[in-house]
Amino acid sequence: MKPRNKVKSKTIRRNRLVGYTFLLPNIIGFLLFILIPVIASFIMSFTSWNGFGNIEFIGLENYKKLLDDANFRISFINSILFMLISVPITLLISVLIAVALNQGVRFVKVFRTAVFLPYVTATIAVAAVWQLIFNPSLGPINGTLMKLGIDAPPGWLSSPSWALLSVSVVYIWHSVGYYMILFLAGLQNIPDYLYEAAELDGAGKISKFFHITLPMLSPVLFFTTIIGVINSFKVFDLIYVLTGGGPGRSTHVLVYDIYNTAFKQFEYGYASAMAYVLFLVILIISVIQFKGQKKWVNY
């Protein structure tokens, strides 16, 4: 028994070594580009540093400063608002499109591609086109509104009260395709016999949707909510190109504020502290979601 065991453990060990060797490139990448920077920026959040010279440890000073930083407060509120607007609408629209496409309509592939296309289009290009669409005097939206007899249509991106909403519209349009594909995959995993059984029991279309489709889709829905919230907090590129945080500070979101602090004002320590607060917020929201999932997610 003993020698055989030894041989076996040797093979296992060798196999493991091979396995780790295959993982190595990835692990090195993870260490270098994720873990070390994450730790470094955590340490940095307790310092004051402009990129040059001595790094000064200032303890919790950066975090204290955040409490009465008006820019941070405004961007925080904007980020939350942006999340509250964009996540539910994105998920709703993508579920509806996925369900519609799953009905076996004609040209499914064409529609699927059409919905997914914005997601794979470069953000800069998307932003440039939407800038034209939203143009207050020459754009098609306001052109139509004015023809319909509305004298002073909103300025969209150039109006402080509409800018965040306009950016959300672009964001939703841009990301619906991605979630739609996830939902479509989820829908295709729902076995037909459930629907057949329900039909035999006399269930209509609507009650099938609410009693079969939605519960069976709940794991996907849970996943997409988490990802959706995280992504909406991370929005930066669209804002950078579409509004630059303006007008005023109406679209100043958290990541934009972090970017400004780190790369325009060169306060790396302070920016790291902001990033960690953002991380904490996302973490808390995700934990709440995970706790809540037991109530509505069916596996």
Binding site: L138, S158, K234, F236, P247
Partner: protein, 429 residues
């Protein structure tokens, strides 16, 4: 974009870690290796708009200094400082770089130039009062090569067509407003704007600075009239609407070259841009320059300036050679070259003036005004003023007034408050 941003952040953090750990250890100036034949290689970062003229200057410089090799690098203006700072903080930086000194002074890597200036027997009289004004703690940390003065460019062809007399060199802002109104006409494709003001806060706040006010003053009430004027110009319809400018990403150069703008208030570098446009055939009208309008009670030909200078890395391995080029470009010879291209240079004497005015074959005809301009700094060259006060507070708050969201009075009140909270509390100690 998102990915590139996070990558940049990651790289930065790694650099931070490495620099942090090796603190006070062996700091290296740059990574440029010298070739074996005794040649010295230098690396220099320049503003994108200035790259061509620096390359030209280097061609001339090389004739007398065959042993100095210089490579130039540039980045888009918007990211210029973040890029060069990242390079410099990694130790793999530049021997020389151009820029506005306030963006770099906090790094502590600017080499004091006093000794080099003394040793080289350089004549600093050409820099005028700027030589003293821009010293930091009594030391010279940079030398200016151009001044970025503001001027009023006007489209002569449009004025001729309308039979309106050209703008004068002694015009108040109210007269400017009337003139702009007179020059405005048409709609849609045929729209002619009386004036164009780039969507920078400087274009509205300049009239307050002409009176001697500064953007970090505790009392910012002089800025009320300035902001009101811009609001009024838009109300008159004589300038493009702010919201339209922002949403179309309008740019002074393309806008003015299009030919439907009568007057454009912008910096001295626009001369070179228009000459370039003429060469390429995109400028199809006659044009000239006059000093910018002035507030009531302020002498004519009062302008704003913002010196752009060359700075030297104190960690450079070849300070002598680097200073040679710095001296060349900011001194008399470089100034003559820059002036002949249409830039108002930091260094001025009779020969540079002659080069600036040219032989009369080149437009614009009336550059001579700018040799006698009285200048106020566009903003005080202190840390954080540009990034926080001008580009955030004045821009963000001013914008709300310009799109009619808030009254001018409330806006200036809010600006005053934010300058105190966000800038003065940090830097004005």
């Amino acid at each position: 974009m998102k990915r590139r941003f996070s990558l940049a952040a990651v790289i930065l953090l790694c650099i931070g870690l490495i620099v942090g750990c090796s603190n006070g250890g062996t700091e290296k100036g740059n990574a440029t290796e010298d070739s074996k034949d005794g040649k010295v290689s230098l690396k220099m970062a320049v503003f994108p708009a200035d790259e061509e003229v620096f390359k030209k200057g280097y061609e001339n410089f090389k004739k007398d200094h065959p042993d100095i090799d210089i490579t130039f690098e540039t980045f888009p203006q918007q990211q210029y400082y973040e890029k060069i700072r990242m390079q410099l903080s990694g130790g793999d930086g530049y021997d020389l770089f151009t820029g506005q000194m306030d963006n770099m002074i906090d790094t502590g890597i600017l080499a004091p130039l006093d000794d080099y200036i003394k040793d080289s027997g350089m004549d600093v009289a050409g820099y005028g009062s700027m030589f003293e004004t821009y010293k930091a703690d009594g030391k010279v940390l940079s030398l200016p090569y151009r001044k970025s003065n503001w001027m009023l460019y006007y489209n002569k062809t449009l004025f001729d067509e309308k039979g309106v007399p050209y703008p004068s060199d002694d015009m108040t802002w109210n007269e400017f407003r009337e003139l702009a109104k007179k020059m405005t006409s048409g709609n849609g494709e045929k729209k002619v704007y009386g004036a164009y003001l780039q969507q920078w806060p400087q274009t509205w706040y300049m009239s307050a600075v002409q009176k001697g006010a500064s953007v970090i003053d505790k009392d910012l009430s002089p800025f009320k009239d300035a902001l009101q004027l811009r609001v009024d110009l838009e109300k008159d319809g004589s300038i493009m609407k702010w919201s339209e400018q922002v949403s179309t990403g309008a740019h002074y150069n393309a806008a003015f070259q299009k030919g439907n703008i009568a007057m454009n208030i912008i910096g001295d570098w626009h001369v070179a841009q228009l000459r370039q446009g003429e060469k390429e055939g995109t400028v199809k009208f006659d044009w000239d320059v006059v000093p910018i309008p002035h507030p009531e009670g302020v002498t004519k030909n009062t302008s704003l300036a913002l010196p752009v200078s060359i700075m030297m890395n104190k960690n450079t391995k070849h300070p002598k050679e680097a200073f040679e080029f710095l001296k060349y470009m900011t001194g008399k010879e470089g100034a003559e070259l820059l002036a002949s291209e249409g830039y108002l240079t930091g260094y001025m004497d009779k020969d540079v003036e002659a080069a600036y005015l040219g032989d009369g074959t080149q437009k614009p005809k009336n550059l001579h005004y700018f040799l006698e301009t009285k200048e106020y700094p566009e903003y005080p060259m202190l840390q954080g003023v540009k990034n926080i006060v001008v580009e955030q507070i004045f821009k963000q708050e001013g914008e709300l007034a310009l799109i009619g969201q808030r009254s001018v009075d409330d806006t200036i009140k809010e600006i005053t408050k934010r300058v105190k909270d966000e800038w003065a509390s940090k830097y004005d100690k």
